[in-house]
């Protein structure tokens, strides 16, 4: 492998506390090294920013529902230019739900190298892996969903933690999953009967368990299994006015639980797309931000992390494992509605959505995301996402960086809103003059999410020994004052190196890279009861045989990278 | 279908038209004899048999396959899918004509100008 020296860039690395010092970064054999004599390649990064490759902790980029989003929206291909086949670049199209090729190229253009697919229905795991395998360049991992799984509901209801842990370890192994995702705990199972759980104490029909028990139980199991990532939660009542009380109730469940892992992770709960969960008011008429209340809680509780789910004010395609939410969203906008309920496990829904600047609710949603990120005290615990493509497409991250880094850019948007006064009135955004620094942006997009995922020792930073994922942006923090340049530069990385291989050279894709896929293999104490339960349940209730359920690592994964954990008690 | 489309079984199961007895009587044909079915697009010789899943008055049924596809409307009306069902046809006796095998039928039709 080639050795590379990146010279003279403004290096920003929160892992080492480096804040824009002019430094060289050396790469050899796929890793960052201290120094290097006679590099094979030298990159002159003078006047440019050098950061670790970006890490996206929550994005819907591969799998069954993403592909429904693609195929049922041919119009989405018309919203942007369909890039032609060129050299080693595959043809690449799609706007809010790009094809796997375009997904990889656009992440690469933004300098991202690690992306977590945030919701994998276990029965569809093979599909998710096939898409990830076909996605070039970026390293990926997928989080299977557990919050409505019949085994989990049953074990947790009876307080059988050992059994729940053994089952979850088995499912992670079978689906080649990375961690525990929980979407609308209990609510999606209720949706199988057309119902929902809107508070953490709404009982799940038939199973007679509450979301409170599910969330607490899953956090406990997560630590019992010493997983690299914490519970990754999309709580109940998403997207509804007044839901912030449900969110606070849910966050409080983390109190008293201690992280237990060897991966440097310090949180026990990651709450995703928190923007969608920080709403006040009782109806859409008196809808308002409660971002401050929720962020105050997170600021004072170090065992909680969050990503924002910024609304980008675009036409997009919403897709979530929260089936009932999509049904209700469709009742609001009357565009097309797709839904898939998955036997014994989970469900999902998909609805196109237009976040319009002319609609005040959309404006307030936009404000809440920014308000929360600007009120956050520790950006190692608050991450930049759009819940792609739910609040907006991921390739808008550079625009969000601009908004976060420039009060003027925010005011420019507010000024174009039809209901500017009303929007200003319903959140505190207008009164915040904070402008984030590149250092804080690097925390939100690299160091922070990498740490929360338990990947902090290999990615998200520039420490010698770490995987050489490095982005070089054509942005000079000393001389640049135009906020538009932020958006442009962070959409057009000049160089991208992934695992020591040059992917972007002078802005051109020169390699499809050698992506890898993480998964977690936890050894637990042999548990005959759970083995029997699994066998019986497959025979009686599944429509796929147990022996045809496990994802074949060699066929369906590119460069599988297994994280081995011993959780034998 | 899965035992070989070049085989006689395929012709026997798909080179047919199923009709109600009343329709057979009306058309002046005999069941289990060959008939000529014609639409505005083409004609084909198949064997008339009594409806196995009937009655369906006024409706003739030819299973999916090359015999049916001699007759159907190839217009997709901008959907990509030809109009395989609901083609108006005339059924006439053709006791002396042969039902061609799938391959002979297709090849012969392709050779015709």
């Amino acid at each position: 492998m080639t050795s590379i020296l990146i010279k003279n860039g403004f290096v920003i690395d929160p892992v080492q506390g480096i804040r824009g010092d002019k430094m060289d970064i050396a790469i050899n054999d796929g890793k960052i090294v201290k120094n290097l004599s006679n590099p094979d390649k030298t990159i002159d990064a003078s006047g440019m920013v050098v950061m670790a490759g970006g890490v996206d902790i929550h994005s819907h980029v591969a799998g069954a529902k993403v592909n429904v989003g693609r195929t049922f929206r041919p119009e989405d291909k018309l919203q942007s230019t369909y890039a032609p086949y060129h050299g080693i670049r595959h043809m690449a199209g799609g706007t809010s739900v790009p094809t796997v090729f375009k997904t990889a190229y656009m992440y690469a253009d933004m300098g991202y190298t690690t992306v977590i697919e945030a919701a994998m229905p276990p029965l569809y795991a093979r599909h998710t892996h096939e898409e990830m395998r076909d996605t070039p360049i970026i390293d990926e991992a997928a989080l299977p969903m557990f919050g409505n799984n019949w085994f989990v509901l049953d074990y947790l209801k009876r307080g059988e933690m050992d059994n729940a842990a053994a089952y979850i370890a088995w499912l992670l192994r079978s689906t080649k999953g990375y961690g525990i995702k929980c979407v609308n705990p209990g609510g999606t199972e209720a949706w199988a009967w057309g119902l929902n759980c809107l508070s953490i104490d709404d009982p799940v029909p038939y199973f007679d368990i509450t979301p409170r028990q599910i969330v607490s139980g899953l956090m406990e199991v997560n630590e019992y299994l010493h997983l690299p990532h914490s519970l990754h939660l999309h709580s109940n009542n998403l997207g509804n006015p007044g839901n912030y009380t449900t969110t606070l109730d849910t966050l409080k469940l983390s109190e008293g639980i201690k992280p237990n892992n060897n991966f440097g992770r310090e949180q026990v709960l990651h709450h995703t797309h928190i923007q969608f969960h920080s709403y006040g008011g009782t109806t859409w008429a008196d809808f308002e931000s409660k971002g401050k209340e929720v962020m105050d809680y997170i600021n004072s509780h170090p065992a909680v992390t969050c990503d924002i789910g910024f609304v980008t004010l675009d036409e997009t395609t919403t897709m979530t494992g929260d089936g009932p939410f999509e049904y209700h969203l469709n009742k609001l906008n009357h565009l097309k509605w797709a839904n898939t309920d998955v036997e014994l496990e989970c469900g999902s829904g998909i609805v196109p959505y237009v976040y319009s600047k002319d609609v005040y609710v959309c404006g307030v949603q936009w404000s809440i995301g920014l308000e929360m990120a600007l009120l956050a005290k520790d950006h190692m615990r608050c991450y930049l996402t759009t819940d792609h493509p739910n609040a907006g497409p991921f390739w808008r991250y550079p625009r969000i960086m601009k908004w976060l880094m420039s009060e003027k850019a925010r005011n420019d948007v507010l000024a174009t809103m039809k209901n500017e006064d009303k929007v200003r009135d319903r959140s505190t955004l207008g009164s915040i003059d904070r402008e984030l620094t590149l250092y804080e942006i690097a925390q939100m997009t690299r160091a922070g999410p990498a740490k929360a995922l338990g990947l902090g020792s290999s990615v998200g930073g520039l420490v010698p020994g770490m995987q050489a994922d490095i982005a070089v942006y054509p942005y000079n923090p000393e001389t640049e004052s135009d906020p538009e340049k932020i958006e442009w530069a962070f959409s057009h990385a000049k160089y991208l190196i992934k695992s020591g291989e040059v992917i972007l050279n002078d802005g051109e894709v020169v390699s499809n890279g050698n992506k890898k896929t993480y998964w977690v293999d936890v050894k637990t104490t042999p548990n005959r009861q759970v083995e029997r339960d699994i066998d019986q349940t497959f025979v009686k209730y599944y429509t796929v045989n147990k022996n045809n359920y496990e994802v074949n690592e060699h066929e369906f994964m590119k460069n599988p990278c297994v994280v081995q954990i011993d959780a034998i008690q | 279908m899965e035992s070989g489309k070049e085989k006689e079984d395929y012709m026997k199961s798909c080179g047919i038209i199923e009709l109600d007895q009343a329709d057979i009587d009306k058309l002046g044909i005999l069941k289990n004899t060959n008939v000529c079915v014609s639409s505005k697009f083409n004609r084909v010789v198949v064997k008339a048999i009594l409806a196995t899943q009937g009655p369906h008055p006024g409706l003739g049924w030819i299973p999916m396959g090359p015999w049916a596809n001699m007759l159907v409307d190839n217009n997709t009306y901008s959907t990509g899918t030809p109009t395989f069902k609901g083609t108006p046809v005339t059924v006439e006796p053709a006791e002396d004509e042969k039902v061609l095998s799938s391959i002979d039928l297709v090849l012969k039709a392709c050779m015709e100008e």
Binding site: V100, E131, T340 | G4, S78, K85, C110
Partner: protein
């Protein structure tokens, strides 16, 4: 001593049964018996062993006779016709694995081919309807465990998906449906009183081609609107009765097939069926599932979807992907004479396209990759027999409810035969060579 292989996937229909057991000879070469499968499925496994099977590629001669050739020569020929053509049609993909599809797509990207699968003559209208109005759906296990109202509309599972009824729908016993068929009410809507209709609690004989009207009437009745005395040959009393049955259920599922997708109205018929399903969700829970035909037509739509963004009739001839059924769809392209070279993989347009389209295929250089002799191979200039996916080679497949299942290898193919993925790999190599692309 023979041995019994379990958990085998049946590569016949979209039901994609994965509980087949196959008895093979000790040397693993001969299939002796097939268990659990339907008659058609068994036939498919046993036919693989037919002694008259073609095992080498062959080229058609001037006089119409066939001459054997090698896979390498066949690959060169295939690459040449695809590269020479201005708009090669690469059709089929439904009876092969996702891996083979993917290789085919990489070829199409380079030669500027049109990729279309058998949905184009099957559930293409369904895919268009999904794009019109969406699709509230579920996996077949939800049907098994929960459904107490099941409609089969314009489909005949008794013949086309024989084990669907016992595995998933009518007879299966699930968590909330412990009494099997007694837990459910079955409604069949079809112009013919099919063998499936004879299993139903209610049979509705709709006039041929009048599905749209009847579906609209059901939607109107659901909203309590007045109906004329008869719609599509069905009395209004019956329509109100059906609506009451559906509303009274806890979980309604509509399965539909060619009866709706092939009749005039096409995607609009399905729009209406989907809208009815969505409406029913205001009263109870309802889902709708297309009875997909070929065992992996669903997979083809999926792979096309994630690689190019469209589920069928994907035209890459301009260097990027375009999709416009009616323009970029196989039959329309053939009828307009736009296609000047053709590759058929794992399907039989010779039998399943209108004859006017078949004639066009006959008139241009066509390579057919298919284990069997079919009317398509008869009109092709080159026939490349390959190992049978799901029997002689494994690979990824997608069930009608989009659930992915990895099919398994049961026996070796006849000596010296390639799989379609391997053959397409050779073609890709040749195409790379012609186009001067580095591997």
């Amino acid at each position: 001593m023979s041995k019994r292989l379990t958990d085998i996937i049946c590569p016949f229909c979209g039901t994609l049964c994965d509980d087949i057991e196959v008895e093979v000879s000790d040397d693993g070469k001969q299939i002796l018996e097939v268990y659990n499968s339907c008659a058609i499925g068994s036939e498919k496994f046993l036919h693989a062993q037919s002694p008259d099977r073609i095992t080498r590629p062959r080229m058609k001669q001037e006089d119409g006779s066939w001459k054997e050739t090698t896979y390498e020569e066949a690959a060169k020929y295939t690459a040449k016709i695809l590269c020479d053509a201005k708009k090669p049609l690469m059709y089929g993909w439904s009876s092969t694995s996702c891996e083979a599809q993917s290789t085919g797509h990489m070829i199409a990207e380079q030669v500027g081919g049109v990729l279309d699968n058998t949905a184009t003559v099957c559930h293409g209208s369904t895919l268009i309807a999904m794009q019109d109005v969406g699709i509230p759906s579920c996996t077949l296990g939800e049907v098994k465990n929960r459904a107490d109202r099941i409609i089969f509309w314009g489909c005949n599972p008794a013949h086309a998906h024989p084990r669907h009824m016992s595995r998933y729908s009518i007879y299966s016993r699930g968590y909330f449906t412990g009494k099997g068929s007694k837990s459910r009410k079955i409604i069949v809507v079809d112009p013919r009183p099919t063998d499936s209709a004879s299993l139903a609690d209610e049979y509705i004989q709709v006039e041929q081609g009048r599905d749209y009207e009847l579906l609209s009437a059901l939607r109107a009745a659901l909203r309590g609107a007045q109906l004329p005395d008869k719609v599509s040959g069905v009395t209004k009393e019956k329509i109100y009765e059906i609506v009451d049955i559906l509303k009274g259920g806890r979980f309604v599922v509509i399965f539909f097939g060619m009866g709706v997708t092939h009749s005039l109205g096409k995607n609009h018929n399905i729009d209406m069926a989907i809208a009815l399903t969505a409406d029913l969700n205001n009263y109870t829970k309802a889902s709708i599932i297309a009875m997909r035909g070929h065992y992996n037509v669903t997979g083809s739509g999926q792979v096309l979807g994630w690689q190019f963004g469209f589920p069928f009739c994907v035209d890459l001839s301009r260097g990027f992907a375009r999709y416009n059924p009616g323009e970029t769809s196989s039959n329309d392209l053939l009828m307009r004479g736009e296609v000047d070279g053709c590759l058929v993989v794992g399907s039989d347009p010779g039998s399943h396209f209108p004859i006017a389209s078949v004639k066009k295929i006959h008139d241009i250089p066509t390579v057919c990759i298919d284990p069997h002799t079919t009317p398509t191979t008869a009109v092709s200039t080159c026939h490349v027999p390959v190992a049978i996916v799901g029997i002689e080679v494994g690979g990824s497949c997608y069930r009608m409810d989009n659930v992915p299942i990895e099919s398994r290898k049961v026996v070796d193919p006849p000596a010296g035969m390639l799989t379609d993925a391997e053959f397409l790999g050779l073609v890709l190599k040749e195409v790379n060579h012609i186009k001067g692309v580095a591997e």
